[in-house]
Amino acid sequence: MKNSKFLGVWIALIVLTVISALVSNSSLYYASSIIIILAVVKFIGISFYFMELKKAHIFWKASVLFYLVLFSIIIISFL
């Protein structure tokens, strides 16, 4: 992976963290759901790029995505 891609992912993750903090202080009706979705996007950024899961067999990629979809649906449904 090129240097700029890791750096680009890092910048995106920091920006998403700042957005999560801003959303949590806002009065948006769906703030909690948005925060969970942002966390899922950050999770994908770390697992697929920093951990290089993008290069792995489809089974591992599908397993991570399945976990994330299941986790976020359960959490959001309880909110």
Partner: protein
């Protein structure tokens, strides 16, 4: 420059190794179930959860997220440098990775010190029971991750043959797992209630 390559497209060789990924999934399921239980219990006592969440310093949580994400970035750079046989850069990035982990632990200690001083211990209420159990369990993972990284660091310093790429990637995968767990803990404990 010579590079080391593993066929990660094989089902049996995900980056970090199949055993490490089994551990990662077990950890994610364990933390995931505990977080679901926390959100489930918050439905019974929404006021307690909301007021308790306000007692946490979300700025500390956000800064710790930045520390771990940055540490993960340097870990990825370190693995990349190791594959290119660049020992100097590998060591430098590994030191920066460990620095991120140490800064995380320092800030967490300051946070814990404040909470204990204010009497917000594990038995204070159900929210703080979850807070202490989940964050302390995560801190233990970060400490274990740091021990693994120190071991890899000294292995690299000894010489190229003492640490192979599979071991290095397994250690890196464990460290990234700490990031992943924190990415789930931070929004649920510090932000949503």
């Amino acid at each position: 420059m010579q590079t080391q390559k593993i066929n990660h497209k094989s089902l049996y060789y995900p980056p970090g190794g199949i055993l490490m990924w089994i551990v990662i999934f077990l950890e994610l399921i364990t933390f995931g179930m505990a977080l679901i239980a926390m959100v489930f219990y918050s439905k019974d006592e929404p006021v307690i959860f909301h007021n308790s969440r306000l007692l946490l310093n979300s700025t500390f949580g956000a800064i710790n997220t930045v520390f771990l994400i940055t540490s993960g970035f340097f870990m990825a750079k370190s693995v990349e440098s190791y594959k290119e046989n660049n020992t100097t850069k590998t060591s430098l990035y590994l030191k920066l990775t460990m620095l991120g982990g140490v800064l995380f632990l320092i800030l967490k200690s300051i946070e814990y010190y404040g909470k204990i001083g204010a009497g917000l211990t594990i038995g204070y209420n159900i929210f703080f029971s979850f807070y202490w159990m989940l964050t302390l369990f995560h801190v233990i993972h970060v400490i274990v991750g740091l021990v693994i990284l120190i071991s890899i660091f000294y292995g690299i310093k000894k010489g190229k043959n003492s640490t192979n790429i599979e071991d290095f990637e397994a250690g890196a995968a464990f460290w990234h797992m700490c990031d992943l767990i924190w990415l789930l803990l931070f929004p649920i404990i510090y932000l949503i209630f």
